[in-house]
């Protein structure tokens, strides 16, 4: 993969040799070799826990490697801190922007900007504004330096982070899962910027789970598995399947996981004319109506912020709304607890901040839904034996990898936290499963398991409302797919009548009738 460069050629912009990093009980990186040339985009691919984050942390000076060397332009360097990394020309665009939201873009960039903020005297932000415009034009990084960060979209915030790295003189730019917060349109904008930066001779390291993106934007791929480099291939000639196989070490089929779309059976959930306000009092749902059959998977696509979150929260009893909802012929009312008991399971969007209590043990987290009732409680007292017993069963049944049931859930990987949530939510026999981005950030193995579990439940008659940003996931699991746009639901359309392209156009606000193939069979 990383053959030594011939002596005559220029040394690579960045070279890692034999990087090893151990943590108690884990070898996070095991003699990792990696090179990036100037004017090259290298994708770093690997499942959760493969060692990508550790490698980035070493490059950015957050960790010191136990063994191995890092060289820049052929010179071995020691990167003791992020400040030193920046001085050496290594910039990091973090997955979640680290910006002061009440400050303007220029003020954020002037903060700790060093050289960049010179020329403004007591008002460093003024000095920065000019440089920002310069960079914006050169690389197509459109950002208004005077805008407040709180008014920016996720894509714009990311551009600010890229500009910050460039202002710091970054020649090597690390982008940590940059597309995870972006809409497809914003992502393609990001790729344009990445190509401009590459054309300018900079080196980019691009971390992503999404194989299509990797094939689209990267020149070469280095694949990590369990801390080791297991492969390095040019993207030319690689396919999704070949990359996925490298990643997980076995073939993964990308065909539709669900058989033929379900013939519409008995109505399970009937939603009529739902209206609700969002957090800022603006309308978030405008007359949403649909039905969901027994055993059906209804996919909901949409760009974040078009009412999907509110729709799920309303159904889960977490958000007030007007309109009627009936489940199994009964009006669905009450708070979150009552609805869960009534058969509504909820796999929430944010598994850390709402799905679990990270400081609590696995057993306590598994009790979050039933802690106050028999069999997990007797009167006002919890039955800790029963709680532990259920936890042991759930951990085994869903193969949650955890050192023990009394380990804080914070120490589990994302995939295992999601399995924990599934175990808890699917306990008993929920009639309706609200699954929001259920596989976001999960590796292929965990994704497969989540999908399998959800489909199993539909065989038992449960209906699934699947909200996802991953169109492939929606197309592979759903019987019908609706698109949320501006608080309205377009569709749902039978899955056979939609494509990635037609869904993308609908997400962008196109009217269904203007899209060939998407107009027929409209139910709503």
């Amino acid at each position: 993969m990383t053959q030594p460069q011939p002596a005559s050629s220029r040394p690579p912009a960045l070279e890692l040799r034999g990087i090893t990093k151990r943590f108690p009980g884990v070898v996070a990186n095991d003699s990792v070799d990696l090179t990036v040339d100037g004017g090259e985009v290298l994708a770093l691919l690997g499942e959760n826990g493969a060692g990508k984050s550790t490698l980035i942390s070493i490059l950015y000076g957050l960790y010191q490697p136990d063994e191995g060397t890092v060289s820049l332009g052929g010179q071995p360097v020691r990167i003791g801190s992020p400040a030193e990394a920046r001085k050496l020309g290594i910039g990091l665009v973090p997955q979640h922007p680290l910006l002061v939201s009440r400050h303007s873009v220029a003020e954020n960039l002037a903060l700790g900007g060093g050289q960049a903020s010179r020329g403004g005297g007591l008002f460093p932000a003024r000095g920065v504004a000019g440089r920002v415009r310069e960079l914006s034009e050169k690389y197509g990084l459109e950002v208004d330096p005077t805008a407040r960060v709180s008014d920016l979209s996720p894509g714009e915030k990311q551009r600010v982070e890229i500009i910050r790295a460039l202002l710091g003189g970054a020649r090597v730019l690390i982008l940590d899962e940059p597309t995870s917060v972006l809409t497809p349109q914003e992502a393609s904008g990001l790729f344009r910027v990445m190509r401009e930066l590459r054309a300018d001779g900079r080196s980019l390291i691009f971390i992503s789970h999404k194989l299509d993106e990797v094939l689209d934007v990267a020149d070469r791929v280095t694949v990590l598995r369990r801390g080791r480099v297991v492969g390095g291939v040019p993207t030319a000639g690689a396919t999704r399947e070949s990359l996925a196989e490298l990643m997980v070490g076995r073939g993964v089929d990308f065909t539709r996981k669900r058989g033929a779309a379900l013939a519409r059976g008995e109505v399970l959930l009937d939603v009529q004319n739902l209206t609700a306000s969002g957090s800022r009092g603006l309308p978030a749902l405008r007359g949403v109506g649909f039905t969901l059959g027994r055993g059906e998977v209804l996919g909901v696509a949409g760009i974040a912020g078009n009412g999907q979150s509110e729709l799920v929260e309303v159904l889960a009893g977490l958000h007030p709304a007007r309109g009627t909802i009936t489940l199994d012929g009964q009006p669905l009312t009450g708070g979150a607890e009552a609805r869960f008991q009534g058969g509504v399971a909820h796999i929430p969007e944010d598994r850390i901040h709402s799905g679990t209590v990270p400081s609590m043990t696995v057993a306590d987290n598994l009790a979050l839904r039933g802690y106050g009732r028999s069999p997990l409680a007797r009167g006002l007292a919890r039955d800790l034996k029963a709680t532990d017993e259920r936890a042991r069963q759930d951990v085994e049944h869903y193969s949650v990898a955890t050192p023990g049931i009394h380990t804080p859930s914070r120490l589990l990987s994302g995939g295992n936290i999601q399995k924990l949530i599934l175990a808890r939510e699917l306990h008993g026999q929920p009639k309706l499963i609200l699954a929001v981005h259920p596989t976001y950030g999960l590796d292929i193995g965990a994704t497969d398991q989540v999908h399998r579990v959800l489909l199993e439940r539909t065989n038992e008659g449960a209906g699934v409302l699947l909200v996802s940003e991953d169109l492939d996931e929606l197309l592979s699991l759903s019987d019908r797919i609706g698109v949320m746009v501006g608080g309205e639901l377009r569709g749902p359309f039978p899955v056979s009548e939609v494509t990635r392209e037609s869904l993308g156009l609908l997400m962008g606000g196109a009217h269904p009738h203007s899209i060939p193939g998407a107009g027929q069979g409209v139910v709503a």
Binding site: L318, E337, L380
Partner: protein, 352 residues
């Protein structure tokens, strides 16, 4: 020197670091005594001899432990729910007011009087804290509201003892008449240790530990305290939990206030005489116990020693009584600073 985050600090580590931070605090205080012109050795030996060295000293520690234990155990619960009650002082005073009002003005048969005094005391403290819990629903920070309510409580006590409740036979003094005998608590002979309140304190500390660890409410409380987002998701009402927590933490402080007036003073008198800053010192008691009510059974006497020792420093070494505030302040600072050592491993030496 670098900090490396620990996955989950062990109980032994937490305990050792807590002890170490107290030791550092005592060393820092020793430095202050040197600058004050007193030998630290003399200060500490005076404190230890006069508190743990004889039965009178022990009784003095015991007297101060009682309110610290009650308030501290309640605060431990409040802190676990992220309800930062800094108003133990005011809640103690309201407990004293309600208890005194009951003892002085409600004619009840003898055996019923004392229980009623305690119940009313708990009610007074609980309601005072409830104000802060309700204000919190309107996004008023409870640190500010509970702190401010302390001053209102002091003013209320002053108003009552100088105005409508001023005793008939007290001439120029401002305090109420003495309670009827049936409203006075028994004490351990020759001391001011009103043992029924002490027993109550032990029961409250153990009861609250059970509540926290074994009850369904304690579970809900921890979810609310440790992840409000998950509480909302699971349909646990944070507002309701906060209401109950306020009643518990305020109620415990109110019990302490009732114990002070019924056990020691036998009348309502000036706020500064009822409480020696118990409400604030109890914050340290709860913090030392790291949010475990039962551990207040250890930490309350520790702070009791410092409060009683401060008295001795005033008498024996002619130091100002406020020296106990120096102790409390330095200990609290060291404890807060020690959090970083609880959560992180320290690696010495240059960067690798």
């Amino acid at each position: 020197m670098r900090f490396i985050p620990l996955a989950s600090p062990s109980a032994a580590r937490v305990g050792l670091i807590t002890l170490a931070s107290v030791a550092v605090a005592l060393a820092l205080c020793a430095l202050i005594f040197v600058f004050y012109g007193v030998s630290p050795a003399e200060v500490y030996s005076t404190m230890l001899r006069g508190t743990l060295g004889d039965s009178i000293g022990l009784a003095e520690v015991g007297r101060r432990t009682i309110p610290l234990l009650l308030i501290g155990a309640g605060l431990a619960i409040a802190f676990r729910a992220q309800f930062f009650n800094i108003g133990g002082e005011g809640q103690l005073l309201l407990g004293a007011v309600f208890a005194a009002g009951t003892a002085l003005f409600i004619p009840l048969p003898g055996p019923l009087l004392l229980p009623t005094v305690f119940i009313m005391g708990a009610l007074g403290g609980g309601l005072w804290a409830l104000i802060a819990a309700l204000l919190r629903r309107l996004n008023v920070n409870e640190i500010l509201s509970t702190l401010m309510l302390n001053y209102i409580a002091v003013a209320l006590v002053t108003y009552l003892i100088a105005g409508p409740w001023k005793g008939k036979d007290v001439r120029g003094y401002i305090y109420t008449d003495s309670f009827p005998d049936a409203a006075n608590l028994p004490v351990i002979a020759g001391t001011q240790v009103h043992w029924p309140t002490l027993v109550l304190g032990v029961a409250v500390a153990l009861g609250l530990q059970w509540l926290l660890g074994r009850s369904t409410f304690g579970y809900a409380l921890r979810v609310v305290g440790e992840n409000p987002g998950a509480a909302r998701y699971a349909g646990i009402s944070s507002a309701r939990v906060m209401t109950v927590v306020a009643l518990i933490t305020g109620g415990a402080a109110g019990l302490a206030g009732a114990g002070e007036v019924a056990g020691i003073h036998h009348r309502l008198l000036e706020a500064g005489q009822i409480s020696l800053g118990y409400g604030f010192t109890a914050v340290i008691v709860a913090w030392l116990a790291r949010g475990n009510p039962a551990l207040c059974l250890i930490t309350a006497p520790v702070m009791g020693i410092i409060l009683a020792g401060g008295d001795l420093l005033k008498i024996d070494l002619n130091m100002p009584f406020r020296v106990v505030d120096v102790f409390s302040g330095v200990i609290l600072l060291c404890l807060i600073a020690s959090e970083v050592f609880v959560r992180n491993r320290v690696v010495w030496g240059a960067r690798a």
